[in-house]
């Protein structure tokens, strides 16, 4: 089940402008980069990005940048504080008529999960609480990518990282619900594999003032350990296995923008990635795999109940 589309019916309707030039130093096949590229197309030209230290910081390294928009780089803990400063500065310039309304910029925080779920959460919580008018894109590659793939609070249960080589026992923090509990006007999960869904969500949020928060699953060939040729395939499996639900919350009201008719087994998603390889060999960790599958099933059962939708056939 897909929700009805309001703005873009087919790929052909999506904006064709590019705001990122090629030539960036990010890994071949980087899902975070695809996501930013797609989101920027909808946001348009007048954007200033506030980046938290992470992989994306490599985008703009003196003297080169792929961006046609503006950029400010902050520490892992403070992109949302930086966004507040920029918004205030822009508002002052506008109020004093030192900048025309046409030149006004939309402020976009760009942060990894290490920053978003952890170090930067306090400043983001405060910014949402103040009702700051800004966009937030968390490209969630489920670990500290830039420094060699260490565990973050977004690393999924069982996944191996540089600091959890046997697979972590901790569960992924539910940042969507943490954000939503702040009652911002808009929260959504997105995936570069569904560019129309992503564009629709950005477009829907455009008329809203206040925090507009986006959580993207950013497939990461380098950290997750798969051939970059599979980047889009892995993103697709994350959705079809139900591991990565696509949803939004407008004024706190949650609805799923895609409910699969039947879930594919999570194993299909996990087995393609080195970070889960220890679950399959040398011995099969059957119980762990069953547990991961159960968590996904429980999630979708509750979605069906809450939204009165047809429950997907479980795997």
């Amino acid at each position: 089940m897909k929700v009805k589309r309001e703005f873009y019916r087919s790929f052909k309707d999506l904006p064709s402008e590019e705001y990122l030039s090629p030539g960036s130093p990010l890994c071949a096949g980087c899902g975070g980069l695809t996501t930013l590229r797609q989101m920027h197309k909808v946001l348009g030209d007048n954007v200033v990005i506030v980046d938290a230290a992470g992989c994306m910081t490599l985008l703009a390294i003196y003297p080169f940048t792929p961006l046609r928009s503006s950029w400010l780089y902050t520490t892992m803990g403070s992109p949302s504080a930086g966004a507040q400063g920029l918004r205030d500065a822009l508002d002052v310039l506008l109020a004093k008529h030192r900048m025309s309304a046409d030149d006004n910029l939309q402020v976009l925080v760009l942060a990894g999960d290490g920053s978003t779920y952890g170090m930067g959460l306090s400043a983001t919580s405060a910014a949402i609480h103040r009702g700051l008018d800004f966009w937030y894109l968390c490209y969630d590659n489920e670990a500290y990518g830039n420094t060699g793939f260490q565990l973050s609070e977004a690393s999924p249960f069982g996944s191996a990282t540089a600091t959890s080589p046997q697979g972590t026992q901790q569960t992924k923090k539910n940042i969507f619900e943490i954000w939503r509990a702040h009652q911002p006007p808009y929260v959504a999960t997105v995936s570069a594999h569904e560019p129309i869904d992503l564009a629709e969500k950005v477009r829907r949020a455009m008329t809203m003032t206040g925090p507009k928060l986006f959580l993207a699953l950013a497939v990461c060939p380098t950290g997750w350990g798969f051939d970059p040729a599979l980047s889009d395939e892995i993103a697709r499996l994350a959705i079809e296995t139900g591991v990565w639900p696509l949803k939004e919350a407008i004024a706190g009201q949650v609805r799923h923008t895609y409910i699969p008719r039947r879930l594919r087994p999570v194993r299909e998603y996990l087995k393609l990635q080195r970070r889960f390889r220890h679950l399959f060999q040398p011995t099969l960790w059957g119980e762990t795999l069953t547990y991961i599958q159960e968590q996904v099933n429980i999630y979708w059962q509750s979605v069906a109940k809450a939204e009165g939708a047809k429950q997907p056939t479980l795997a």
């Binding site: 790929f11 052909k12 999506l14 064709s16 590019e18 990122l20 030039s21 090629p22 030539g23 960036s24 130093p25 990010l26 890994c27 071949a28 096949g29 980087c30 899902g31 980069l33 695809t34 590229r37 797609q38 490599l58 985008l59 703009a60 390294i61 003196y62 003297p63 080169f64 940048t65 792929p66 961006l67 046609r68 928009s69 950029w71 060699g148 191996a160 570069a192 594999h193 560019p195 060939p221 380098t222 051939d227 970059p228 040729a229 599979l230 980047s231 889009d232 395939e233 080195r274 390889r277 220890h278 060999q281 040398p282």
Partner: protein, 299 residues
Amino acid sequence: MVLRIRFHGRGGQGVKTASRIVGTAAFLVGYQVQDSPVYGAERRGAAVVAFTRFGEEAILERGVIEHPDLIVVGDETLLANPAAGVMVGQETATAIFLNAESAQPLVEQYALSPSTIAWDLTRRTQAIVGVASALSVGLAAATARLVGLIPEAQLLSAVRRELMELHLPEGAIAKNLDLASEVFNALPSLEFPLRDGQETPQKISSVLYEGLLRGSPSILNTGNAEQRQTGAWRLERPEVNFEQCTRCGLCFLQCPDGAITLDQNGYPIIDYDHCKGCMLCQTLCPVQAILSKQEVRSW
């Protein structure tokens, strides 16, 4: 004595693992060992350097190897990139190993030392392991053989240990062991005139404080990353078969780097100066209109 080996490659080719395998193998022989990669902003496809030192006494040297005895190059295209620093210190190097079909043209083109040895690791790795870019074991085996101080048995146990640590499946480890043996036995051992003594570490330079404008430079240009030709990262080359292409536009939407544009008729045009060769466009094309060509052969 200390033997210094410097490995060059691209992120994803296994240069770091190669330096570790050689380190572990030398350790198993009984040497004192140090191995380390350079960490920084390296990415899959970008230039990467790793170092192995081994010798009989404790190794007090630290940091990058500026005067290597052996330079091991996993990717010949790095020779064209001065920033990769492949040739740094080649005057004192006894030999250079190149993963290439033949040494002669490259020796001439880049004025390399005449004692440059080339061997086509990519072809054999593709044939035996099945992944052309998984060069770590081949590079390590070539190194072990060339330096002459590491017997095959220790090399093979080091390969097994390191690959097990990476959770490689048993089948893949077995193929890599075959590759290691083949490379080891195909190459000669060289004489290394070993330099005694250790190099004094470079002084740590003090960081000068610069004012805000110089200390944190601003980029006033936009979109100028286009000047960086990431096309050199490519191991495979995607090519569109226009007769089959239905102009669905999927590859254009999903190329992370925006290296695909659509022409007026909606056909995808690939920008080979920048395409990094991730090949996800080939995997996702619904009608298999994108083909893959081995880039290695066209260099």
